[in-house]
């Protein structure tokens, strides 16, 4: 009881100083909370972008390495598949003609050439999935086929070719791959029974712009698929337009126009590591097991994300953390100096208490109690500052953009060597600074630590006080 009476009276007497110390701690703590909230917002935004690319549970992705480019590239209207097959398409007065390695086939006017083939990454054997799954440190692995459907209609008045992306999804591994991140907006998701059926899920954005609805059909690789559901991917992701069962993608898809079917082939393997700390080692092990594949972890992928999102992440991580660290140190120093100054003014008081038989630790407990209350006051105000800072960031922060560079899979020979061109897509990412309970807890502990640190220095001073000298008279 006396402890509390003495404590409150002292704090009231030094209220201006106590408020000043508490405000100093509050500014430091508030800045830490704000920067941490902003960092968390940026991290969540980054995670959203990466999740959108490869799904929720994917730690590592394995893709087929693009083949080396031939020394002379094809001319307009012709191209080559990954296996070096030369294809040309021509349209004449009587119709069209498609030639594969010199063997030509006539196409009637009105004929639609519908090709479902890998665009970026060449296929890997489905056995690679089993090989990866068997590696130590792999919790789960699933194969997928990322394909592009190109449709060209032979006509004297040709309309521009259309294309959309198709993701062949392994239905036995629903927690891996891009579809794992999708939310159903209409219809239903795939079931295990759909594995060999011609059913499709369509991205709701793509469905809207192409008037596609649940129950309707659409041509994919020349085969009619029934749309069973519409899905949406998180904002900031780069979703496929259509999802079909992997087994059907392997049957319908071909290795280029007039090419072979992709039976037992995948071009992306999604891997979940058994432990987050194993990812780097696992990345190396997969690269060793599959030398013809590119192995990418989420962290290495994150480094390829540029744009304002990356800049903000760098700003939050570098400048923000250092700034809050420095402010916190300054606040701690301020608290220590002001508390020491207060103790210096109370030397005679503490000397009198010692003369009356107060033990040093009883006096120290009194001062520590006062410092702890100031620290808690700083924490309370600092949490308020932190929430306000996060709210200000959310109110004024512009929408961030992430630029994702994706390899086109082509290799072009130039006089200075072979180059691998990439295509980049820009996605808009909302950043929401969020204050978590953990951050609040840490902030409260920080402020309390600041107060107690100040109290500790003061206690050190008190413990060294000789009562005779403290009372102030040596005759």
């Amino acid at each position: 009881m006396f402890f509390l009476t003495y404590l409150t009276r002292e704090l009231r007497r030094r209220s201006r100083q106590a408020i000043f110390i508490a405000l100093g701690l509050a500014v430091g703590v508030g800045l830490v909370i704000t920067v941490t909230a902003a960092s968390a917002g940026v991290r969540n935004a980054q995670a959203g972008v990466l999740k959108g690319l490869y799904g929720v549970g994917t730690d590592i992705t394995v893709t087929g390495k693009p083949p080396a480019a031939p020394s002379n590239s094809g001319t307009s209207g012709s191209g080559s598949t990954g296996g070096g097959t030369r294809i040309s398409l021509g349209i004449g007065p009587g119709g069209g003609q498609i030639c594969t390695n010199g063997r030509c086939k006539s196409l009637k006017d009105g004929y639609t050439l519908d090709t479902l083939a890998p665009e970026n990454n060449p296929p890997l054997s489905a056995a690679s999935v089993a090989k990866v799954r068997g590696l130590h440190g792999v919790a789960a692995a699933a194969g997928g086929l990322l394909l592009t459907d190109n449709q060209v209609t032979i006509s004297q008045n040709p309309s521009p070719p259309t294309s959309f992306t198709v993701d062949g999804t392994d239905l036995s591994q629903p927690k891996l791959g891009p579809l794992s991140n999708a939310a159903l907006t209409k219809g239903r998701l795939f079931t295990a029974a759909d594995a060999t059926k011609d059913v499709a899920l369509v991205d709701s954005g793509y469905a809207t712009s192409n008037s596609l609805k649940v129950g309707k059909t659409m041509k994919i690789g020349g085969v009619t698929f029934t749309i069973v559901g519409l899905v949406t991917q998180p904002q900031g992701s780069n979703p496929a337009d259509v999802y079909i069962p992997l087994a059907r993608a392997q049957t319908v898809g071909t290795n280029g126009p007039q090419g072979k079917a992709l039976k037992n082939q995948v071009n992306t393997i999604y891997v979940t590591a058994a432990s987050a700390s194993d990812i780097s080692a696992l990345q190396g092990a997969i690269a060793k097991a599959l030398p013809s594949a590119d192995v990418t972890s989420a962290s290495s992928l994150a480094s390829e994300v540029t744009g304002s999102l990356a800049s903000t992440a760098k700003l939050a991580n570098d400048l923000g953390k250092w700034l809050s660290f420095l402010v916190l140190i300054a606040a701690f120093a301020l608290a220590v100096l002001l508390t020491m100054a207060a103790v210096a003014r109370r030397v005679s008081e503490f000397g009198t208490l010692k003369a009356m038989g107060w033990r040093g630790r009883r006096i120290i407990a009194q001062v520590m109690g006062e410092s702890a209350v100031v620290g808690l006051l700083g924490a309370a105000v600092g949490v308020g500052f932190g929430f306000a800072g996060a709210a200000i960031i959310n109110a004024i922060a512009p929408k961030l953009t992430a630029i994702l560079s994706v390899a086109t899979g082509q290799r072009i020979a130039t006089p200075s060597g072979v180059v691998n061109p990439t295509s980049s897509s820009t996605v808009s990412v909302p950043m929401v600074a969020t204050v978590s309970a953990t951050v609040i807890g840490v902030a409260v502990l920080l402020a309390l630590a600041g107060g107690l640190l100040a109290g500790t220095f003061a206690s050190w001073r008190i413990s060294r006080l000789r009562p005779a000298a403290a009372i102030g008279k040596v005759g």
Binding site: M1, F2, T5, Y6, R9, E10, R12, R13, S348, E349, G351, T352, L353, K354, A355, M356, G357, W358, R359, G360, R362, R466, P467, A468, I471, G472, K473, V474, G475
Partner: protein, 233 residues
């Protein structure tokens, strides 16, 4: 009560050694009133600090009821001060944020439960804390000023609170360092009269330091400190 044998106290200021008390021999009987006077800087307060266990001698023995204060550990010395010795200072040394009653109560804090629990029901052998505080303030004539802060009291009243604080724990010894040094003549006389009354009533051993002969001549015995040495009048 007190037996000081060949006590010396030196202070070091860098390379300089300042002797404050030199080879002092002194005996103070239980219930005696000893006044110590002398000029400033001649060792009066140092002697008082040694008697109160606030400082340790450089050499010699300071026995209080047979216990050598120079050899007692810090904890034992602190306990001894808490229970046995009361101090009164020239500048009163009251805690400015606490009321008169709370200042007096502060002296009972180190005694813990021995000083009563602080509640009405917690009265021990010496009564509850509140009762003891009230009695102490009543004995110095300040029962109507219990809730006043030091800043709301006159100098004489503040010194009365300081005397109540020193006596609330029923000490055997009261050490007073220039208790009237900051008071006017009338108030000085009141305080000295009060100390004399309490000394008589309680059978205290009173050791009072003052340079004021009006004060010291009320004592049973007067020691004069001169360059660290004591001689008796």
């Amino acid at each position: 009560m007190y037996q000081l044998t060949d006590v010396s106290k030196e202070f070091r200021r860098g390379a300089l050694t300042i002797p404050a008390v030199s080879h002092l021999n002194l005996t103070v009987s239980e219930g005696e009133w000893l006044a110590v006077r002398g000029r400033t800087g001649h060792g009066k307060s140092t002697l008082l600090n040694l008697l109160g266990g606030l400082d340790r001698p450089t050499s010699g023995q300071v026995l209080l009821d047979g216990r050598d204060l120079a050899r007692l550990g810090d904890t034992a010395l602190t306990r001894l001060r808490a229970a046995t010795i009361g101090f009164v200072f020239q500048t009163f040394n009251l805690i400015p944020t606490l009321s008169a009653a709370e200042n007096v109560e502060a002296a009972l804090v180190p005694l813990g439960s021995r000083a009563g629990s602080g509640g009405e029901a917690g009265a021990g052998a010496g009564g509850s804390r509140r009762q003891r505080v009230a009695t102490a303030l009543d004995s110095v004539g300040l029962s109507d000023r219990m809730r006043h802060l030091p800043s709301q009291l006159s100098g004489g009243q503040q010194q009365r609170v300081a005397i109540a604080r020193a006596l609330v724990k029923d000490p055997k010894v009261l050490l007073a360092d220039e208790p009237t040094g900051n008071l006017d003549t009338d108030t000085r006389d009141e305080i000295i009269a009060l100390l004399e009354k309490l000394w008589r009533e309680r059978g205290l051993t009173l050791i009072l330091v003052s340079h004021d002969t009006t004060v010291t001549r009320r004592a049973q015995r007067v020691a004069v400190m001169d360059r660290g040495h004591a001689h008796f009048e």
